[in-house]
Amino acid sequence: MNLKRALLLAMMVFATGFAAPAFASLEIDITRGHLEPTPLAIPSFTGSSEPEREIGRQIAGVIRADLERSGLFKVLDPASYIEHQANIDLQPRFAEWRVIRADALLAGRVVIENENRVRVDMRLWDVFAETHLFGQQMGTTPENWRRIAHKIADSIYQKLTGESGYFDTRVVFIAESGPKINRTKRLAIMDQDGANPTFLTPGSYTVLTPRFSPTAQQITYLSYSSIVPSVFLFNIETGRQEVLGDFPGMTFAPRFSPDGKKVIMSLVQRGNSEIWLMDLRTRRRVRLTNSPAIDTSPSFSPDGSKIVFNSDRGGSPQLYIMNVDGSALRRITFGKGRYSAPVWSPRGDLIAFTKHYQGKFHIGVMRPDGEGERTLTTAYLDEGPTWSPNGRVLMFTRETRPGAGPHVWSIDLTGANLRRVTTPGDSSDPAWSPLIE
């Protein structure tokens, strides 16, 4: 499993900044080559009919795009492939894949079993070890082929890096249009790669800051659809919207608990915002903070025991951590600058945040004890990070320069692979879904 070790090492080196000698005993030269994306060959999936081959071309295209976008892989140009396998169950001629310098080969086949069902078989081969890494079979309805492609990309990512993928996911965000002083903001959802964008609200009222439920097809967000702006729940399957709780004031900055059973948010009373926790089933609510300062942007640790939030109780916006009952409060940011919008990594090891310093905005990460701060991005405005479900990638809102419209961008935790995410028009406030079941 040389390939897997090489990729893991590449990720670790990015993440920790360790120098090469630490791994010298593993006989893998990580000072060269392995920090380069791993080259893969992904021919179009085969089929015994033209409709099957058409789906096969599309599936291979989506897998190539997913893996390329991760920054960890380079998909070799299909025009360079020498062998054209007719039967993916037979061992490929490895020498012909080594010639084009592929480390691994993905081979797949599409079978339309009937008008309601497509089956996809795939095999991943290690070209240098000349071994079969794994094979999979998946079935779905014909129009659902993109999800099969994403699931295959996730399987490859997991097999080669040892970590779960993030391709079969969706992103909820705010689609923006119109002039700056009369902006239309709609709740929207799309696949992680920008496909299938759909508006969920009409644009006649402003919506902000959506967040995905970690366990259900549900979104929580701030809506100005009623006289008092309030936190709402949106059921993606039914389209039903409901205001969350009968609070005596404006509620905002909602986020789900890791078990999906509670929502934490800010409530404004007499101009003062405090953090409240609400049980979705019993609708019982508890106030967790009690200070005349701004207390907002709460985010749970993945084990549900702690909450990181934004407060200006020390004179400027900084990050604080408390236990889920409000006890053991302590400040974790002491660096120069104004810190806000914290989000706890799903892996638990890091907190991502927005930092405003010397006229620029940054996305950064630090450990929950406040140590190990790293700045990942810099722009006129970068804000509101959200984690991929595997904790390896962040999406955020960026305005590249003054007056440029906002767009969703992504960056790896390593600080590499900065990309603009495909959205229909201007976009902001992305929130990543968990892996779809």
Binding site: G178, P179, K180, I181, N182, R183, K185, T206, L208, T209, L222, I227, V228, P229, M250, F252, A253, S266, V268, R270, G271, N272, S273, I294, D295, T296, S297, N310, D312, S316, P317, S340, A341, T354, H356, Y380, L381, E383, G384, P402, G403, D429
Partner: protein, 179 residues
């Protein structure tokens, strides 16, 4: 001071437009639609209007011209400047003269902050205006507050002058004014 002056002129103009529909003394042809807004890179030039008539007593127009419907804040601040307090005194006097008037106090922020923090800051700005008006005798039941955070800029430019204009609390009359 200059900014302040320009803005009050600008807002007088806006309210002339909105009041003109039912006012036969003014001839005004069209209201600029949202698609005609200037691109954000160009500065907004205040429209100079000469008033040739007196606003009707108790009207929204009179409120905005005689008292001013917006007060401004410093960066990340919700404390009221002397100028803001002077404007609010006039707002309170006017509201005390027209006790049927109800208002919405909307707190706004500039774009140099993150979204949720600005929602909290806007709530503070709206509330500090409400508290001040209550102290000047305005019944709190006549006032509701809302925060728009950085979502409702009135100056689209990305520069200091625009940011200081966009840090405000807007007193919007929602009912009880004469038309």
């Amino acid at each position: 001071m200059k900014i302040k002056l320009l803005k009050s002129l600008g807002f007088a103009a806006v309210f002339v437009v909105s009041a003109c529909a039912s006012d036969p003394q003014v001839t005004q042809t069209s209201t600029p639609g949202p698609t005609q807004q200037q691109p954000s890179s160009r500065p907004v030039t205040p429209v100079q209007t000469t008033q040739t008539y007196a606003p009707r007593p108790g009207s929204i127009e009179e409120f905005s011209t005689s008292a001013g419907d917006r007060i401004y804040f410093g960066y990340d601040s919700y404390t009221l400047s002397a100028q803001a307090r002077a404007t609010l005194s006039k707002q309170a006097a006017w509201m005390n003269s027209y006790p049927r008037v109800r208002v919405l106090l909307a707190g706004n922020c500039d774009e140099r902050g993150t979204r949720e923090y600005n929602l909290a800051l806007g709530a503070r700005r709206a509330n500090s205006v409400k508290d001040y008006l209550v102290n000047l005798g305005v019944d709190p039941s006549r006032m509701t507050t809302i925060s728009y955070g950085k979502e409702r800029p009135i100056d689209p430019r990305s520069m200091g002058e625009a940011w200081s204009i966009n840090r405000n609390t807007h007193t919007a009359i929602v009912s009880g004014a004469s038309s």
